[in-house]
Amino acid sequence: MKDYNIIGKKVPIVDAELKVTGQFKYTDDLKLPGMLYAQVLFSPVPHARIKSLDTSAAEALPGVRAVATYKNSSRVKFNSTTRLRTQEWISNECVFDDTVRFVGDRVAAVAADSLAIAKQALRLIRVEYEELPHYVDPVVAMQEESYPIHGSSNIVGKICQNAGDVDKGFEESDYIFEDTYTTPAVHHGAIETHAAIANFDAKGKLTVISPNQNIFGTRIILSRIFGLPMSRIRVITPGMGGAFGGKLEATLEPVVAELARQTGRPVKLTYNRRETMLSTRTRHATVITIKTGVRKDGTIVAQDLKVISNTGAYAGSAMNVVGAMSNKVFKAYKIPNMRFTGYPVHTNTPSAGAMRGYGSPQVFFAQQCQLLKISKALRIDFAELQIKNMMDSDGFDQRSGKSIGNPRPKDCLRRALELKKNWEPLSDEGGKYSIGVGMALGCHGSSTCDAHLDQVCIMIKMNEDSSCIMYTGTHEMGQAAITAQMQVVSEILNLPLHMIDVVYSDTDVCGWTVGDFSSRGIYVTVHAAKKAAEAARAAILRVAATMMQEDEADLELGPNDVYSKVSGKRVERCQVMDYAQQVLNEDIICSATYHATDSPPPYGVHIARVRVENSTGKVEVTDYIAVHDVGKVINRLGAEGQIEGAVHMGIGYALCEKIEYDSAYGKARNNSFRNYKMLKASEMPRLQLDFIEKYEPTGPFGAKSISECAVVPSAPAVINAVCNALGIEIKNIPYHVTEQ
């Protein structure tokens, strides 16, 4: 592969120095002059009509500036995950409603001079509820006789996908396996909780500052709620303290904007951990039934997947997540006959939304665990079974026959097995432990183009001294997409990073982009940065050619000068910029829009070794291998970091993370970090990771994505290791010995 200056290198994330000195300003760190503080009153019941609502005492409290409820607020229904103005997605949420649909649903919000007054005011709001039937379990909620949470049925929709003839495939199979698996709702666990600041200025323009992965989509939502043209709304994300999909959807933004509208003052709302867990988003819990037909030699002939997903109270991500799940499964194996049927179902639990993997962790958990069972039944080595069925490098989408780029799951598996040879033997300490090794495959996508338009516009403005500013609508949440874009600008413009600054995620300043989800940071946004930088490079060389009276094609861009490869003539880069400004009277501002028409799946194979303490059943993951097919690594620190974080999230998904809902009261039992278990440093395994870098023809520099894919194989690898250690089948995660 070509040798690059900075592409593929270890580059620290943009703003790292601000972050280590405590100077980086996240939303909650900001204060505006005259700012009010908001608090939200949450429903204590899972499903009820509001019979009466009296806010008079709260309003009378000195220092209270507004109490917003369904009675005095916008009642426009919206879909909290909207991306395009033309999308007609199911919209059944509003800022406040006269019906509450989960414990944690918004009843009212107060804006006051201080947080203490706002809290005091909440206690003065009197609400009477007329309770309605409630459901925590989607399997119950979807039954015809269940009371509808919206409309006439709790089934939000049906998603069907098909390849080949599944029924015929089962007839041709030697063995058929059918199993049902369940996965829990989990919390994203970004260390920064949700927050938002809104202000209507004197000319009536609304500015919202919040950690949000989807600024342009949020602008559409706010435009609908408040009936404002987009020119009167500005959404800014200052950088997020982690998101993982949890900040994709508009949650606090409409509330805080409504309070700003009512008060005419800037208003800040920050949820604490309990409130974030109670009232924002979770990963979809699922019940997955998977039926697989195989030949004696291990060839998978047919697979039928039926998924019931708990989408919670509102439909924001209901169809999208199950839709995305349905797309991924057709790209992992050469299974000619495959069918997917998915039902997102409303229940009276918090809305489920996007979360890293976007449907893939659930479905691959079921598929990978059942595959282990099949390999045991057929007495075929699991790796051999995988290799037999995995997509080849000329693989295609099993539904359409369309190319999926350069898929390399087999290379991942082979490399992972090589790395496994580095493991030291692990002792069972005289029978104290049972030891097992598990493996799993996962894949994901690289853009949103399977679901809807994926497009991004990046702009570069050159300065007189030849430094530049990049304007990108991309959102910074630790994933290093902006860092990767800057690397590309640095590479193509031959400028050191300190000569490039960035303005990001501001709807007034940056070109339009789809939000940062679908692992599109590298594959899509880096592509746009490359196009914009190439345009800027061409513009600089065009000016230099005029100035030097040389042929443009002969010119090269050096770090400090432009020179002719033919005549050897050279001028300083800043002189070229001066010439553009003062002689040609031009400003060099270049923008480029990239429209993704492919979403080549990245793949990952993970191998986990666990030891289970026989006396207690406690599982410890001791060793871990993760190998990912990414096309080309753009930033090694970033790519490694994505995998390392995903391993943390995946092991938690397998073994300890779950929001527990009490079915009688419809209430979560563990809305705090005290009771919701995320892994600590001492609980992480020894890790080996590696990349398969085989050029992806449609990707920038040959790259495809990494971030979400990295979490997909993790939970099934761990669970398969536990199954092997104990000789059991596990069908429900998280796996705790007390619950199985």
């Binding site: 000195t21 204060k31 970004a190 260390i191």
Partner: protein, 159 residues
């Protein structure tokens, strides 16, 4: 309200506080030192860690009135005259910073460790950051950064 004197990063500051205000609240809301982060307010995530008399402490659990006369160190005091502390430099170079929200707390836990133990084992490092949650890194690069900083501090004397 009550007037108290706090010693923060070597400077004495006088603030008026309510008795139930936490140190985290006073740092962020009164003194505009927003480096310490509110991740949970229950002492479970460590994003708000500061060092009080040499110990890394969750500032969300400490009332400001109780820490008068004690030496309080926050992330804002870690670099000296614009020169990054070896821990800060190592966090940047190793890629231990992703979203950065846990970073100030991690740095303070790590500093409290290295102030007492310049040659910590990997297990001692894991233990020292045992009350700090990170969702981005799996802790790997954070541990590597602390090891690198320890090494740097062994080689270069830091005031």
């Amino acid at each position: 309200m009550e007037k108290i004197e706090l010693n923060i990063n070597g400077e004495d500051v006088t603030v008026e506080v309510e008795r139930n205000w936490t140190l985290l609240y006073v740092l962020r809301e009164i003194l505009n030192l927003t480096g310490a982060k509110p991740g949970c307010n229950t002492g479970d995530c460590g994003a708000c860690k500061v060092i009080i008399d040499g110990e890394a402490v969750n500032s969300c659990l400490v009332h400001a009135v109780r820490v008068q006369g004690k030496a309080i160190e926050t992330v804002e005091g870690l670099s000296i005259n614009g020169k990054l502390h070896p821990l800060q430099q190592a966090f940047i170079d190793c890629g231990a910073v992703q979203c950065g929200y846990c970073t100030p707390g991690m740095l303070m836990s790590a500093k409290a460790l290295l102030d007492k133990n310049r040659t910590p084992s990997e297990d001692e490092i894991r233990e020292a950051i045992g009350n700090n949650l990170c969702r981005c890194t799996g802790y790997y690069k954070i541990i590597e950064a602390i090891q690198r900083a320890a090494k740097m501090m062994g080689e270069v004397k830091v005031e």
